[in-house]
Each structure stands twice: as structure tokens, then as C-alpha cells.
Symmetry: C2
Subunit: 223 residues, 2 copies
């Protein structure tokens, strides 16, 4: 089955604002770029093409510099609209698409080929994210409407079943970890050996230690 | 391979203090009991025996009432000491043990038989927890010293490799979710359909919604 990975990236600047107490704007940009390298690199080893869709020139330029296929968003679309544009773009040439966010740098620790194998046994494969979202969705292009947003994991399963599509849940800790909070940075430092994201955080002299507070992990910068 | 599941339970009272802003002491006790039913029930379908080890009379009585095998801790031991006592107890009769905490109520959503199959291909099988811990460890009884505690996932892998034991990491979102914070309760309400833990939280009229703050999920009690 010919497969295209679709990675939507909104922008590098003014993104990940929940990380602003921990990372400066330029550091957040650096981390986003490092994570896109991790995600696209892990997927490129298993699919026929990796496509980044964005409305942001910087993102498209950077993705192009990584050797990725790029697609400029048409008009003012939300995430689902942009992904539907990307699926339409892929439909003539690919049997299926694998949609992942750009901020799951531990994807390479998951068994991506096993993940793709699941798609030979179900119409839709979906991997849960922390917080009720979707961190991977595999389907035939435009097999169903996309429901990214709040609690999208359950919305996507509902949408697939409404259309009589079979669903396989891919249960993965590494895929569930998207990066939005300081605690998430801690998980990347712990588990991200060999990733660009961890290397970037190390260069910023971040370290992590367990915490007994409302977070399990506490990250800090060594002097 | 004859397999015994070992579930260490310290106590029901004065436990899970990080949940005290959200649950009363008696509610925390009720949740701990519900989760033990979920964990022991999910394991019992796949192993030859489920053993609960504790120094607490209430815990042992409750586990016994669930039809589980019980073992009283000898003397003042820490978690690793208690588990080593339990492994010694199992060694004459079982080829391997699967050690899990009692607070991973979504274990039944994971593929437990697939998890156990991994133990036929490696000396040690380990599943990561959020925060760097270990939420499942499968090994021959006393094949190595146990390192439960801070960052135990990495400590256990290091210990196994030091002894020349092969290690298989079992990558599971559902196994990674132990319950320590209000946000964790949110994940149980979202993903825990059919579990005693979710049913218990529903009875307490808890609901969950996405949040854009430092937590991804916010739980609250409907009036």
C-alpha cells in the first residue's frame, strides 16, 4: 500500500505558549524544528512520502530544507480543513495516509512498522494522545471527515463507526506524548535518547527529576 | 509458562494524598478498591494466580474477599523488599512473575496476552509509566534485584543489562496511566469505559473536560 505521511504545522513563532514560563520564543521555535526532524525522520523510514502542510512561509521553507514535500494551505482553514486539503492532494497517488502532529518526538521509539501493519487489518488506525486527543490517524484519503480538536480520539472513533469503518486502536505510550507542558519536556529528556528534541533540550542545559507535586516530573536549567 | 501476578498494595487509608484536594479519604479508599478490582480482574484472565502482598490487614481482607491469594509482608520492608519476599514465595511454583502496581485501572484496555507473549521472547519485559517509573515488570522470580522508586524504568533496564538479561520494552499508553493526580482521574473517566474505577468516579458525579492550562484535563463534580 502506497502511503503518504501528512504532518500539519501551524507555525514556529508564537506557538506552544504553555511552555513560555520554561522556554523563550526562540527556544520554542528551536524545539519545534527539532521535533519536526524527529517526527518526519521516523516516518520517512516507513512511508513513500512525507508531506508538511502549513500556511506559514518559515515552516514551509524549513520543511523543504529537510527534503520534505510541502503544501501551502489554501485560504484561512482550521486544522481539519487543512488536513482535508492535504488528503485531497494525496488521493490520486496514495492508498492511505498517516496523519500525525509535529510535536510527538518519541514516535521513533514506537514500532512504526507495526503501527502501519495495523492498517492492513482495519479501515482506520488511531493512537490516543494524553488528554483525549489523537496522535496518529491512518486511513484511506478522505475515507471520513476529520474531527481533530477536543477529545478527538473519541470523535474520530465515533465518526468511523458511523460510516461502518473498522477501527483499530494503537496503544502506545511513546505516541501518546505530545509536547505542551514543562512536564512533557521531562518525559522527552527521560525517554528521548537519540532524538533531536532531547539533544536540543540538553544543549539548553535542561535536566529533569521526579517530583511529588501535581506534576510527576520537574525540569530545570542547570547553571 | 506458569505465571503469577504480584500486586503490592501498601494501604487504602492515608494513600494517594495528591488526590486529597479532589477526593475525601473515604473516596480515595473507594477508588483504590475499585482500581484493585480492575487490575486483578484484567490479570486473572491471563495468569495462573494473582497474589496481593501487603502489611495492611484491611488490604489483605479486601483482596481475600475478591478471591485473590494474599501474602502478609514480613517485617518493615520497602516496596522492593516486599516484592522480593513475594518472588521468593512464588519461585517454587511459577516460571515467571508479572509485577504491576494496583493503580493502573486501564490495564484491561491493553493487550495483556500480547504483553505476556513478549516474555517468551525476552528475559525481562518492562512497560514505562508516566514520570519515568515502571508499570509492569515480567521476569523469572528473582532473576534480578528490583529497583522500584524514582526513574525505576531506567534503573530496571540498567539492572537487567548488568546481568546479561535481554529486555523488551512494552510500549502501552493504557499501562502508562497510573492514578496520582486529578488529571489522571480525567484520563480514567475518558478511557475507562467498563472499569470499576470509572464507574466509581461517575457515581461521585465526576465529569472531565479539556483544559488549556498546565493540565490537559480538568475534572469537576457536577452538582
Amino acid at each position: 500500500m502506497k502511503t503518504c505521511a501528512i504532518i500539519p504545522v501551524s507555525r514556529f513563532t508564537h506557538a506552544k505558549t504553555r511552555l513560555s514560563p520554561t522556554l523563550s520564543p526562540s527556544e520554542r521555535e528551536g524545539l519545534l524544528k527539532a521535533m519536526l526532524m524527529d517526527v518526519s525522520g521516523a516516518l520517512a523510514r516507513h512511508v513513500d512520502r512525507v508531506l508538511v502542510i502549513s500556511a506559514d512561509e518559515d515552516v514551509l521553507e524549513y520543511a523543504y530544507s529537510l527534503g520534505l514535500k510541502i503544501l501551502e494551505e489554501e485560504g484561512e482553514r482550521d486544522l481539519n480543513g487543512a488536513l482535508e486539503q492535504a488528503m485531497d492532494f494525496c488521493a490520486p497517488e496514495f492508498d492511505r495516509v498517516i496523519i500525525t502532529p509535529s510535536d510527538i518526538p518519541l514516535i521513533g521509539k514506537a514500532d512504526v512498522s507495526n503501527l502501519l501493519d495495523h492498517a492492513s487489518r482495519a479501515d482506520v488506525v488511531i493512537a490516543p494522545a494524553n488528554g483525549g486527543g489523537t496522535n496518529t490517524l491512518i486511513l484511506r484519503p478522505s475515507a471520513m471527515s476529520l474531527r481533530f480538536g477536543d477529545c478527538s480520539f473519541f470523535e474520530h472513533i465515533h465518526e468511523a463507526r458511523e460510516r461502518g469503518l473498522s477501527v483499530s486502536v494503537y496503544d502506545s505510550f511513546y505516541l501518546s506524548l505530545d509536547v505542551n507542558t514543562a512536564e512533557d519536556l521531562g518525559e522527552i529528556i527521560l525517554h528521548g535518547e537519540g532524538t533531536h528534541a532531547r539533544e536540543y533540550l540538553r544543549k539548553l542545559r535542561f535536566t529533569v527529576k521526579p517530583s511529588r507535586g501535581s506534576d510527576r516530573l520537574e525540569v530545570s536549567r542547570s547553571p
